[in-house]
Every structure is written in structure tokens, then in C-alpha cells.
């Protein structure tokens, strides 16, 4: 187990990166506590797998250092770093039994058979494979194979961290949930640092204590699932996390306050924005938008254009000032016909300049 520190990490796949877009990873400084459960979340091609490979030692970064517990491991192999990894497509040794698969990493390290047997049986119990230890690994289903991959990491007592590279991609949907909760449970038991790469927000948010959201080779926000939901640091996080994603509305500043379509909007603890320059936007999640009721004053005039039922609530799309705003109306809530006024919850409304939060 180890605390992982990434120091000014950059990586490019081409030999002579000149412009910004040549870098698969732009600039990265991170600190991960020992024994934590972390997720790297981002769309395909955002650099999360690159980052994972750099941490595991399969890839050497173009620039920057990687530290495990203060030791510089940048030039060490995955084996020397003592990490384990579960890949997107299950990797099992087809010709071996489940038992031999789990024993493989230990036998390669010259552990004596008695200890191997004890460890393999202990881990097989944890991942519910005890009853099929003698089966050929090739005959298992995809989720069984992923459990073996995970088990091969768990049997080793010297593992610093276990990496997961989108491990649930090939698993049937009804088994995904099972395997995910199993993973969470295992983490609480063994307390090894786990790093989970995914583009699925549900997987990231349910698994991790802290989520690292990445986009275009940059870390956009690091935070707990609640942070990401309630206070996205970047409009990208607002979009990417949550379903439906955050409303992002163009705004301008007058008298130090944000105005959307000429109507003043209250945003968080926004002090005076002054004469802010750059592209300004107001972000508010659909959960925190509501229709004005009798007694409310102000609000953004809007026209309801579309209502879709999502079970417990309805997703309403309203048109205001040539942009669409989504809001959630709980079951049984009234939806005004045609003309309405929208109110934003000031505590959950934020102003963004060029994508980044300012207030």
C-alpha cells in the first residue's frame, strides 16, 4: 500500500510535441492517499487510460515523476512497483485452472506452495470462486474471468495499488451492479489503494471516495461525488455528470450581477463580479430549477416545449431567451401550460468564465 504522488506529469505519444493538442496528458499534479478508492472519469480519449498506464508503469511519461510513498518509481517496471491491474477485456490464462490462475503471480515470485495454497483459498473465498477452483479458467463467463483478474491482484500481499481499466465494459448489465458492490465491499476489507478508470459516471460515483474528472488531457476537477454534483468547478463537469446534465446559459454582467436574457439571476455567494471579461455563463442543474409559484417574484420568462416522463419525475424542457433550460418536476408537481417563469436556487447556481467557475 502506498501514497501515490504525481509530479508535473505530461505525456505525448508523438516524439516532438509542439502544440497543445499533441499532448495526451497536459499537466498533472496529484496526490492520492494510501488506501483510498479513486476513480478517473472522463469521455473516451481524454487521457485517463494513458494516466493509468503511467501510474502502473506500462508507459513512461514524457515529463514529470511518479512517487510511491516518497520513492521515485518513474523508471521502475510494473512488477517492481508492485501494482496489479484489471484490464478492460478479461485476461485469464486459458490453459490453467482457476486455482492455478490465482496462484500464478505467487508462484512466479517463488512463494512456497503451502503459503500459495492458503492465500489462493482465502482470496477465492473473498471473490466467491471457491466452488470452481478446479475448473478450467477458459470456461468461465466474462464476470468470472474479471474476478480472476482481480483475484490475481489480491493474492499478492505486496501490492501497492490495484488499477481497474474500465473493467465492467464486457459484463452483462444485471451483473455490473453486483460486481460493483462486490468491489466496494472488497475495498473496505482489504484497504488497498484502488484506482478505477471509467467513462461511466454511475460506476465512478458509486465506487470512489474521490473522483478525478478529466477532459482533453487535463484534470478538470477532483472531488467527492457530492462536490461534483453540487459544485462543478467547470461547465464540463456539470455537463458530464448528472442525467440530464447541467444547464449552461450565456449571461452578461450588469451592476456586478449576472443577467440571463436581461433578467438578474442570483448565484451562490457571488460578490461583485465587476466588469468581468471572457465568455460568461450561468450554470444550474435541472434539479435546482423550479417554476415560479404564486407569491414568487421575478423569474426568467420561459415557454414549456417538451415534457418527458422519467418515472419518479418528469424532465421539462423550457425555452427562454433562445436557449433551452431543463428542469425536473417531481411526480404530481404542476407543469404550467405554455408561459411560465423559472427560478434558480441561488445556492446551487454558479457563474463560469471560459468554462471555469468564478462565483
Amino acid at each position: 500500500m502506498a501514497k501515490i504522488v504525481l509530479d508535473t506529469l505530461r505525456h505525448a505519444y508523438m516524439p516532438n510535441p509542439t502544440q497543445d493538442s499533441d499532448w495526451a496528458l497536459k499537466q498533472l499534479d496529484l496526490e492520492w492517499e494510501d488506501g483510498g478508492a479513486y476513480a478517473l472519469l472522463g469521455p473516451s480519449g481524454c487521457g485517463k487510460t494513458t494516466l493509468l498506464s503511467i501510474i502502473s508503469g506500462l508507459l513512461r511519461p514524457t515529463h514529470g515523476r511518479v512517487f510511491f510513498d516518497g520513492q521515485d518509481v518513474t523508471d521502475l517496471t510494473p512488477e517492481q512497483r508492485h501494482i496489479a491491474q484489471v484490464f478492460q477485456f478479461p485476461v485469464v490464462y486459458d490453459t490453467m485452472t482457476v486455482y492455478d490462475n490465482l496462484a500464478f503471480p505467487l508462484r512466479n515470485r517463488g512463494v512456497d506452495e503451502k503459503h500459495v495454497d492458503q492465500r489462493v483459498r482465502e482470496i477465492a473465498g473473498m471473490i466467491d470462486l471457491t466452488h470452481m477452483l478446479d475448473n478450467r479458467a477458459a470456461g468461465l463467463t466474462a464476470d468470472g474471468k474479471q474476478k480472476i483478474s482481480l483475484g490475481r491482484g489480491l493474492v499478492r500481499s505486496d501490492v501497492n495499488a490495484i488499477m481497474f481499466d474500465e473493467p465492467l465494459t464486457v459484463i452483462d448489465p444485471h451483473l455490473k451492479w453486483q460486481l460493483r458492490s462486490k468491489l466496494k465491499e472488497l475495498h473496505q476489507r482489504v484497504r488497498t489503494t484502488m484506482i478505477y478508470v471509467t467513462h461511466d459516471q454511475t460506476e465512478a460515483l458509486t465506487f470512489a471516495d474521490k473522483v478525478v474528472v478529466m477532459n482533453q488531457g487535463e484534470v478538470v476537477q477532483i472531488g467527492t461525488p457530492v462536490d461534483l454534483f453540487e459544485r462543478p468547478q467547470h461547465t464540463f463537469v456539470g455537463h458530464f455528470i448528472g442525467s440530464p446534465g447541467m444547464n449552461v446559459l450565456p449571461c452578461e454582467v450588469a451592476d456586478g450581477r449576472p443577467h440571463v436574457a436581461g433578467i438578474a439571476v442570483q448565484a451562490g455567494g457571488s460578490g461583485n463580479l465587476g466588469s468581468a471579461s471572457g465568455k460568461l455563463e450561468v450554470g444550474v442543474r435541472p434539479e435546482f430549477v423550479r417554476f415560479a409559484e404564486a407569491g414568487d417574484t421575478g423569474g426568467l420568462p420561459a415557454r414549456v416545449v417538451k415534457v418527458s416522463d422519467a418515472g419518479r419525475f418528469r424532465i421539462v424542457e423550457a425555452e427562454a431567451a433562445e436557449t433551452r433550460i431543463k428542469l425536473l418536476v417531481p411526480e404530481g408537481g404542476d407543469i404550467p401550460q405554455e408561459q411560465a417563469h423559472l427560478l434558480f436556487d441561488p445556492d446551487h447556481t454558479a457563474v463560469y468564465r471560459d468554462g471555469w467557475i468564478v462565483a
Binding site: S56, L58, P78, I83, F87, V91, M96, N108
Partner: protein, 287 residues
């Protein structure tokens, strides 16, 4: 549900049936026909029963040819398969050298078989051939036209040169289809290079290697062209394998009955051994 039974479909299959009959069944049946009859010319035939089969199976000449055939086939399999796998393992997986290697490897396969025989014949001639002269210059008493051992050496060398490429290409196809994740997982699990070969590469190559062994077995058991150009079965009968012997009996001596019986036995041996190979190699697949 009502299924329409329409026997007109048979008409569409007929051309294929006719074609197969014309190029496989009918020729084979003429061979069967010759194998059970005796003739003294003038197209007059007498029923001979299994006489020719008994004669062939009991003849020492057939036993010797069969033994030489088996020795040849197993020798080249033992050399070509491991060598082919070894070469495939050293070939680059990606990059500009891949097409170069592939073309170089494919070259021997593109040369007509009789040209291969002629090439090696000249190459190995002790007085003017590059190989023959060099060997003699180095102090070896090498003459493949006179010494049986030298003839075998040349024959096997020629076959290895001609056909190892096939094993290489098949093994290479199996190797490049292994996802990178397997190698990375093995690295992480601390596997040594031999363990990577034994538990990842070999199992993943198993199917293509089965095909390679089968193809090499069948082809080498039927080798005729290169061999007949290189040594013609000599010196003496030392390199007379089954196909050479068959041609000698059928066209040299014009013994149609024994030749037909031998053809059928030859065919059945190849069929039976191929089946045994295939079953043995696929046995684990079901488990």
C-alpha cells in the same frame, strides 16, 4: 407452421454434384476398378479380388518406401514447426519492417515446385553448385547424387527452406491476434519470458499451429515434384518415398493393378493419420 417441400431445390445442387463426380468420384472409382482386376492388355480384364492389396501390403518394397516416407515427414515436422514458431516470435509485431518480413517469408512459397527442385539440384551439385562446392571446400565429402546420407540432408534442407515459411506465417497470424493486455498482465504477474510463451503465446497459437501441422503433414506425405527433380528417388532407392515409388510402379512398370491398390492404401494412410492428428490436437478443446 406450414413448410413447403419443394424438391426443385435439388436441381440447383445438381451442377455441383456433377462437378464433384467428374473431378473426384469418377477418377477415384476408376482407380478402385483397376485395383480389383488383372489385365494382360487388349482391354481384357479379369477379377482379382483383394490380391493386389495383399501383394502391396506384404511387399518389402512398400514397407521400405512407407518407412522412408514416415521418417521424412516426422523429421521435417520436428524441424519446421519449432523453427517456424521461433522465427514468428522474433518477427516485429508492428512498424515498417512488418510488410518486409512478411514478403521475405512468403517468397519461397511463391516459387513453382519444380523450380524449387531444380534450384536446389544445381545449388547442391558438388562440382559447380554453391552449396556443394562450399561444403567440399570446407572439407566435407559431400555428394548428394552418390551418398544416401547427403541426399537426405539436401532433401530435408530443401523442404525446410521451402515450407518453414508457411508455419511462420500461420504462427505469426496467431501471435499478432493476442491483445496487448495479455502481455501487460503477464508482466504485472511477474511471468518470465518462458511462462509468457508457455501460458499465453502457445495456447493462443494452438489453433493455427494445428492447421500448420496438418497442412505440413499432408503436403510432405504427398511430396513429389521437388523430390523427383532433386534426386528422382536416388541414389538407388534411398530417397524413394511413397509418391516416387507409386509413379515408378504405375508409369514405369505399368503395373496398373498394384499401382491402383497402392494409391488407395496411400490415400487411406493420409486420411487416417490426419484424423488422428486432428483428434489429438483438438482433444483439450472440449474440456
Amino acid at each position: 407452421m406450414n413448410k413447403t417441400h419443394d424438391n426443385k431445390a435439388w436441381f440447383f445442387v445438381l451442377p455441383v454434384v456433377a462437378l464433384v463426380a467428374f473431378n473426384a468420384v469418377i477418377p477415384l472409382m476408376t482407380v478402385v476398378n483397376y485395383s480389383v482386376q488383372e489385365t494382360f492388355g487388349d482391354n481384357v480384364f479379369f477379377w482379382a479380388g483383394v490380391m493386389w492389396f495383399e501383394q502391396v501390403l506384404q511387399s518389402e518394397r512398400f514397407h521400405d518406401a512407407l518407412f522412408r516416407q514416415l521418417a521424412f515427414t516426422f523429421t521435417i515436422l520436428l524441424i519446421e514447426v519449432p523453427l517456424g514458431v521461433a522465427i514468428a516470435l522474433t518477427m516485429p509485431k508492428k512498424g515498417p519492417w512488418v510488410p518486409v518480413c512478411l514478403v521475405l517469408m512468403a517468397l519461397p512459397l511463391l516459387i513453382p515446385w519444380n523450380v524449387v527442385g531444380a534450384m536446389w539440384n544445381i545449388f547442391a551439385l558438388p562440382d559447380i553448385g554453391l552449396l556443394g562446392r562450399s561444403l567440399n571446400a570446407l572439407g566435407f565429402d559431400y555428394n548428394f547424387t552418390r551418398q544416401p546420407g547427403d541426399a537426405w540432408f539436401t532433401l530435408i534442407l530443401m523442404d525446410v527452406w521451402h515450407w518453414t515459411s508457411l508455419v511462420v506465417l500461420l504462427a505469426y497470424a496467431g501471435l499478432v491476434s493476442i491483445p496487448d493486455a495479455y502481455y501487460q498482465a503477464a508482466k504485472i504477474d511477474g511471468a518470465k519470458p518462458f511462462a509468457v510463451f508457455r501460458y499465453i503465446q502457445l495456447p493462443k497459437m494452438k489453433r493455427v499451429l494445428t492447421i500448420a501441422v496438418l497442412l505440413r503433414f499432408m503436403d510432405s506425405f504427398m511430396i513429389y515434384t521437388e523430390l523427383s527433380v532433386l534426386t528422382g528417388g536416388g541414389p538407388g532407392n534411398s530417397t524413394t518415398l511413397l509418391s516416387i515409388d507409386l509413379v515408378k510402379i504405375a508409369l514405369g512398370q505399368f503395373d496398373l493393378g498394384p499401382a491402383a491398390a497402392m494409391s488407395l492404401i496411400y490415400f487411406l494412410i493420409i486420411l487416417a493419420l490426419s484424423w488422428v492428428f486432428y483428434t489429438l490436437m483438438m482433444r483439450n478443446e472440449q474440456q
